[in-house]
């Protein structure tokens, strides 16, 4: 197999665009949420400042090798996820490294960073980290389920696991989007989306005072900076999958930005309205409300 | 005659069995079994008997040539003989057991010897 080396600079370009977009987007959404509380909220560039500040801290501690590697795993997970999925449909430049695998690769790679991060947090020896991980993992087992069902429903619908092919099948008008051709799957997936965004009502994992923000409680300085980068990048990478599978993908960057923003807003809107669930409540919620929709999506497709 | 012996024999067997199964005393059981044995022997004889024939003794009165027609079947009698001997042996053994049992427990009640069960 011959490898097209030009893919690498293109992939880096994608990465840079998405990181910057992600930093701005998260700030923007935070600002919107602040406006819902009648505050001004943070400046739009606040994320950059925080990032620089954290990189600029002069000291740091380490609890051990896994602790050290935790953020690396985390960000690798984010970057990998982004690059394994084509960002723009029809663009050779921004199809990234999707030759390495299909949708299943992306779905399972989601866990790479989570698992590595959990391990790193575990080595800090901090009980709050462990409690946070326990909650996060418990919740994700239920929250991932509707997505898996929805993805499977979509794969059945289009008879392919290739993201490109799925996007291709949705071209030619808004009514061709999975959103309209398979609304049940999209509903289930969006339920799952709410659960994976670490926003209310599903954010007890990061309960700030009870278990000071859970898993990353011991992280600081550059570790935290890497994780912040991932925090900007990862949701976007995830939403790229949602966009491609359910909302017709994107053929250009403006459409990409718009669709990602709108998808993010779903979670933000729900988040400012609803209070927090306990973990078992959220698990039950997913099993009772979201999973049946997913099952239905599989059965009727 | 044969019917009477048969009937008596079976009656003795049943009486003996009844006695053995209802008397708790070991000695009484043994006696009951001898009664039953006697009954069995009687049945044996009765089955072998043939009306109007003589005892199976080959002597002057019964020439060998006519034996097959004149004497009764000798086999059951031989069997009875054996059975009596065996019965005697068993009875003797049971009595010996009765002695040992009485020596060990001071009682001859069969329902007292039930350590081995289940």
């Amino acid at each position: 197999m011959t490898f097209d080396w030009m893919k690498i600079p293109y992939a880096l370009l994608t990465l840079i665009i998405v990181v910057n977009y992600g930093l701005l987007l998260t700030a923007l959404v935070q600002k919107i949420a602040a406006r819902a509380g009648r505050r001004h909220g943070i400046p739009i560039w606040q994320n950059y400042i925080d990032l620089v500040k954290n990189y600029a801290l002069r000291t740091s501690i380490s609890h051990g090798v896994m602790y050290y590697l935790g953020p690396v795993f985390r960000l690798t997970g984010g970057v990998g996820l982004l690059l394994f999925v084509p960002s723009l449909y029809g663009s050779e430049m921004f199809s990234n490294l999707s030759f390495a695998g299909d949708l299943i690769l992306a779905l399972y790679f989601v866990f790479f960073g989570t698992l590595g991060m959990a391990l790193g947090a575990g080595e800090s020896g901090h009980p709050y980290s462990a409690i946070g991980v326990s909650r996060g993992l418990s919740q994700v087992t239920a929250a991932e389920l509707p997505l898996a069902l929805a993805v499977f429903s979509v794969a059945l619908q289009y008879q392919t696991l290739s993201v490109t092919d799925i996007v291709a099948a949705q071209q030619g008008g808004i009514t061709n989007w999975t959103l309209f051709t398979n609304p049940l799957a999209v509903t289930a997936a969006m339920f799952s989306f709410l659960g994976s965004m670490m926003r209310p009502p599903f954010d007890v994992v990061l309960a700030p005072q009870e278990i000071p923000i859970g898993p990353p409680t011991e992280y600081h300085s550059s570790y935290l900076a890497l994780m912040q980068t991932n925090r900007a990048l990862f949701p976007v990478a995830k939403m790229v999958i949602y966009m491609n599978l359910f909302f017709g993908g994107a053929t250009s960057w403006p459409i990409f930005f718009l669709k990602i923003f709108l998808i993010y807003m779903v979670s933000a809107l729900v988040g400012v309205v609803f209070p927090r669930f306990r973990v078992e409540q959220s698990i039950r919620w997913f099993l009772v409300w979201a999973v049946p929709v997913g099952v239905l999506a599989i059965l009727v497709v | 005659m044969i019917t009477i012996s048969l009937f008596t024999g079976f009656l003795l067997v049943l009486a003996g069995l009844y006695g053995a199964l209802t008397n708790r005393n070991i000695l009484r059981m043994i006696v009951s079994f001898t009664i039953a044995d006697a009954g069995v022997n009687l049945v044996l004889i009765a089955v072998g008997a043939m009306p109007g024939r003589k005892a199976p003794i080959l002597d002057a009165a019964v020439p060998v040539a006519e034996a097959a027609r004149r004497i009764i079947d000798p086999l059951p009698q031989a069997l009875v003989l054996t059975a009596i001997v065996i019965g005697l042996g068993v009875t003797a053994l049971m009595l010996a057991y009765a002695y040992r049992l009485h020596a060990s427990r001071g009682s001859l009640d069969i329902s007292k010897f039930t350590e081995l069960k289940w």
């Binding site: 501690i61 901090h126 | 053995a20």
Partner: protein
């Protein structure tokens, strides 16, 4: 050759002579007794040899110079010769073991003993009914005398009860004989034979019934055998051995001879009584705690089974002697051996047999006898069981099959429970009374058992199980027990590698994968065994090699018989292996009971499939008649799924795998579980889809696989014990594999194979790592560990790589399995079970994270601060597994490509395209090397970036955490570990309810309750026993009358 008549002559003559001896000449008397018994054995043995191998023809011996019916005649043929030899040999050996007692009681006792053996021989040889009666009475009297040779006070009462019952029996027999004589005018069996009794409702038939039932009662049928059980329990074990192996054998042969008079109408009665006895006696034995009484129950049961075979002689045909004989000989050898063995045990409690552990060779004998009684290969009972079940199934008597297998399962339960207790009970002080002679007799008996096994196999039309090379190799290991363990370990590794090298050219791709896992994989696990190879490690290598031999035989088996034999061999080998764990006794028992239950299902399935064909090739499963096929499929699938621990049949696995020794756990998890999968593969490849009452069975399997995956994973997430966690995870993983097989498409099977390979690697690795940790920390409770990463870094790396692989996260090999899985389910319509398996997928993250976090991360405990890395021999295989995992992740095609093509031969749809490094399906693609490179490059880049930024990070210690402005108190209170997934338990804890455990617990509880209730029949009152005998005769007659049209 000496005439067999001289057996009687020698016996009787010696008895008279001994009786005449002076009271003080005990040694002389004993010597004469032995010499007489030896002579009898020799004569009988020479005739047995002549009949079996010398081509002698049956003949008749006339006595008193007159032909029958005027005199008694003796018939001698092969069965008689064998049985007489058996009885005499048992007599001889029993006398040896009874030496002290016999000398104490004096010459008269010896005379009685000789008479008893002589009478047994007489019963077997005579062709005269009344003579039969006489010999039976002799036995009764001799028994009455010999019971008294006992240390047990209670023997007196037992002997009396026995005599009372005998009286009732003899009355019935005598009356029967005289009327039969009246009807047939002969006492000679040869004259009466051939249905000369007339119709069953005639008067003569009633007479025959009395004779017949009297003989049957001599067999001590359930439930009217209390008097005999008391004798078993209280008599001298030497005599009990003769009573069990000799008396019953002789009585059985008498029944077999006499039943010919009545002819076919009487066979069902014998079969029914035999079956009731077999099942009932085994059931009651479940609650028994006295070893000799237990043996008594078992004897009664085995004899009942032979009676069944006699009753089925019209069905089995001329081979009924081989079948019945197989069971009988096995029973006689094993039971005699066990009774003698019980003479070496002071305690009458089952656990008291632990004393045998002082002499491992006796344990070997014990194991041999238990295996013989349980009908395991390579003993005759195994062949007999196989043939019996096949004959019954071919005739459609499935209820018989079920009852027999159920009874056999009960028997296995109490035998293996007993064995397990003996192996695991605390070791008592040395048994002072241990007799060398008895020990030698027992060992000789065990060896004789093996020899008989070989002979029987050689004569069997199915082929000799023992002649299979793997088994021979495994059987060589007990002979090497004197070698140091290191040598044996090296030898084991070499043997396994050699086995693979030899088998390699002959394997098809499927066999290749399983063969590589069994042989090469087994060898790798053996590397870890070097850790424990101190001293001689008695028992480990024979058991392990037995299991590997069974596995090897399994994958190369061409027909159902060798497949089943291999299955039994691997089961028993693995049972011994599992039993080696410290606390493993109840779990090993549950394992072997489930396994044997499964094996019986397989046996029934094969029998149903084969009908009359023998040998039945596995490939012929394709051609099973359509009306049988679903049932065959069902039975076989259930059997195989007990081994894969599928939902409902899984409860044995967690304990068995968790409590096994460190290097045994990977053997029984990584390797052994694959036997079930291999069976399922074999099944679906040959039988394809089957529907029963409109339900597609593979669809049911899908649900079972999915359910196993879910329950296994959920349960694993809630375990505190690390090895139990791994064990439950195996249930889940096997669920995936079963699911894949049941998908019945190309990719599903490929996925199952991927799981086969992956599961072997990571589960073996994990069991070794966790075993190493448990060895170092002295606990398996995860919450008591923590923070071991710094002390055991290599173990950590092995666990880390393994759990990444198992979780299915790219870039390691587990992802390949998941990827194929998704592609496979896209090809199928079964969507609902898929939901369940989706649900179980992410749960794996829970227990995997918990495993690594709770053990290696978090807070290090005080007492573990000086713990060192796991032993190097444990680490070597782990590191090999890490390399395997990485290699398999990069180049899955090496293993799977050929299999893909092979499976393609069974399936219409196409498999995968293996073009370059990319693997393409109809739906998607996957490039393992590209994934690895991309992930690697990103990871390394980011790592270097972090290293650049944070190379001066201050290394801190475990309490340097921001603890809400406080500080941790102790590591125990800071390690968040116990009940780690509490919220998850609150949400879905209902799934972790031990429903199946409760079900099986209730089932076994109910069985024991029934057994406990039924055995109240045995009141201990001799009179009640006599009454029962009378009632039995009446009831059997009434039932027989009622059954007649």
């Amino acid at each position: 050759m000496v005439s067999p008549l001289h057996i009687l002559v020698v016996g009787l003559g010696a008895a008279f002579f001994v009786g005449l001896l002076n009271h003080d000449a005990r040694r002389t008397a004993f010597a004469i007794t032995l010499a007489a018994l030896a002579a009898m054995t020799l004569i009988a043995g020479s005739w047995a040899w002549a009949f079996l191998f010398g081509g002698a023809t049956p003949f008749t011996i006339l006595t008193a110079g007159a032909p029958p019916p005027f005199a008694i005649n003796l018939g001698v043929a092969a069965p008689e010769a064998v049985l007489v030899a058996l009885v005499c040999a048992v007599g001889l050996l029993s006398a040896l073991t009874m030496r002290d007692a016999l000398e104490r009681f004096g010459h008269r006792a010896m005379a009685v003993f000789l008479v008893a053996v002589m009478a047994l021989v007489g019963i077997i040889l005579t062709r005269d009914v009344f003579n039969l009666f006489v010999f039976f009475e002799l036995i009764a009297i001799a028994t009455g005398g010999l019971v008294l040779i006992s240390d047990d006070e209670r023997a007196v009462a037992a002997g009396f009860k026995y005599l009372v019952a005998s009286q009732v029996v003899s009355i019935a027999m005598l009356i029967g004989i005289i009327f039969v004589y009246h009807a047939t005018a002969s006492l000679n069996l040869d004259d009466m034979n051939g249905g000369s009794i007339g119709p069953v409702d005639s008067g003569p038939a009633l007479a025959f019934f009395l004779l017949f039932i009297a003989l049957v009662i001599e067999l001590k049928p359930f439930p009217i055998n209390g008097w005999a059980l008391d004798v078993y329990q209280s008599a001298h074990p030497g005599f009990s051995a003769l009573f069990s192996a000799g008396s019953s054998t002789a009585a059985l042969w008498a029944v077999d001879k006499v039943i010919g008079i009545g002819g076919a109408p009487w066979l069902p009665m014998a079969a029914a009584i035999g079956l009731v006895t077999f099942v009932g006696s085994n059931l009651v034995a479940l609650s028994q705690t006295d070893d000799r009484r237990l043996l008594g129950y078992s004897s009664v049961a085995q004899i009942g089974l032979v009676l069944t075979v006699i009753g089925l002689r019209d069905l089995i045909g001329e081979r009924h002697l081989a079948v019945g004989g197989g069971i009988l000989v096995t029973h006689a050898v094993a039971k005699a051996g066990l009774f003698w063995l019980s003479g070496l045990v002071a305690s009458r409690d089952l656990a008291g047999w632990a004393v045998l552990r002082h002499r491992p060779i006796l344990i070997f004998a014990f194991a041999t006898f238990v295996a013989m009684l349980a009908g395991l290969p390579p003993f005759p009972g195994f062949y007999a069981k196989w043939e019996l079940v096949h004959a019954l199934a071919a005739d459609g008597r499935l209820a018989f099959v079920a009852a027999i297998l159920l009874g056999a399962l009960f028997e296995a339960v109490y035998l293996f429970r007993w064995f397990g207790r003996a192996i695991k009970a605390p070791l008592p002080e040395e048994n002072a009374a241990a007799s060398r002679i008895t020990g030698a007799v027992v060992v000789a008996t065990a060896l004789a058992g093996w020899a008989i096994g070989w002979t029987w196999g050689a004569a069997s039309p199915y082929g000799n199980v023992m002649a299979a090379t793997p088994l021979l190799v495994a059987l060589a290991f007990p002979l090497l027990e004197w070698l140091p363990a290191r040598v044996k370990n090296t030898l084991a590794i070499l043997v396994l590698c050699l086995g693979f090298w030899v088998g390699y050219p002959h394997f098809d791709p499927l066999q290749m994968i399983f063969g590589a896992i069994i042989l090469i994989g087994g060898a790798v696990i053996f590397i870890a065994s070097f850790t424990f190879a101190q001293g001689r490690r008695i028992g480990f290598y024979p058991s392990a090699m037995l299991m590997y031999a069974g596995l090897t035989m399994l994958i190369v088996a061409p027909d159902t018989f060798s497949f089943f034999a291999a299955w039994e061999v691997l089961t028993v080998g693995s049972y011994f292996l599992i039993l080696r764990g410290k606390e493993s006794e109840p779990h090993a028992l549950s394992y072997v009971v489930f396994s044997l239950g499964g094996a019986f299902a397989i046996l029934a399935g094969f029998a149903l499939a084969a009908q009359t064909t023998a040998p039945f090739a596995l490939a012929a499963l394709k051609q099973v008649a359509a009306d049988h096929a679903p049932w065959v499929f069902l039975l076989l699938a259930v059997g195989f799924m007990t081994k894969t621990a599928s939902l409902g049949l899984h409860i044995w696995l967690p304990g068995a795998h968790a409590e096994a020794e460190t290097d045994v756990s990977p053997m029984v998890s990584g390797v052994l579980l694959k036997a079930g999968l291999f069976g399922l593969f074999m099944l679906v490849m040959h039988m394809g889809r089957q529907s029963l009452h409109g339900v597609e069975l593979t669809y049911v399997m899908l649900w079972i696989g999915a359910g196993s995956a879910l329950i296994g994973n959920v349960m694993a997430a809630f375990q505190e014990d690390a090895k139990r966690l791994l064990a439950y995870s195996s249930i889940g993983q096997m669920g995936y594999a079963v699911f894949g097989i049941a998908l019945m498409n190309n990719l599903g099977w490929l996925m199952a194979l991927m799981f086969v390979i992956n599961h072997y690697i990571y589960k073996s690795s994990l069991f070794l790592s966790i075993g190493g940790v448990a060895k170092r920390t002295g606990t398996r409770e995860m919450y008591r560990m923590g923070g071991l990463i710094k002390l055991m870094p290599l173990s950590f790396v092995a666990v880390l790589v393994s759990i990444i692989a198992m979780s299915g996260v790219p870039p390691l090999s587990g992802f390949g399995g998941r990827w194929i899985f998704y592609n496979a389910i896209l090809d199928t319509d079964a969507r609902l079970p898929m939901v369940v398996i989706f649900l179980s997928g992410p749960i794996a993250f829970l227990y995997l994270f918990r495993l690594i976090h709770t053990i290696f991360l978090g807070q290090l405990k005080d007492e573990h601060r000086r713990v060192s890395e796991a032993p190097v021999w444990l680490l070597v295989p782990q590191m090999m597994y890490v390399v395997f995992l990485l290699g398999f992740a990069l180049f899955p095609g090496l293993a799977l490509r050929r299999v893909d093509a092979f499976i393609g031969g069974f399936m219409p749809e196409r498999g995968l395209d293996w073009e370059g490094t990319t693997i393409t399906s109809a739906f998607g693609h996957w490039n393992p090397i590209a994934i690895m490179v991309v992930v690697g490059v990103i990871f390394v880049t980011l790592f270097l970036w972090l290293l650049f930024l944070e190379h001066r990070a201050q290394m801190v210690k475990q309490f340097n955490i921001a603890f809400a402005a406080e500080r941790p108190h102790r590591p125990e209170t800071t390690h968040f570990a116990w009940n780690f997934f509490a919220p998850y338990r609150r949400a879905v804890g209902v799934l972790a309810e031990p429903v199946f455990e409760r079900f099986w617990g209730a089932t076994t509880g109910a069985l024991h309750d029934v057994a406990g209730f039924v055995r109240r029949l045995y009141t201990g009152d001799g009179q009640v026993y006599a009454l029962q005998v009378v009632a039995f005769v009446v009831i059997v007659q009434l039932i027989a009358m009622g059954m007649r049209p």
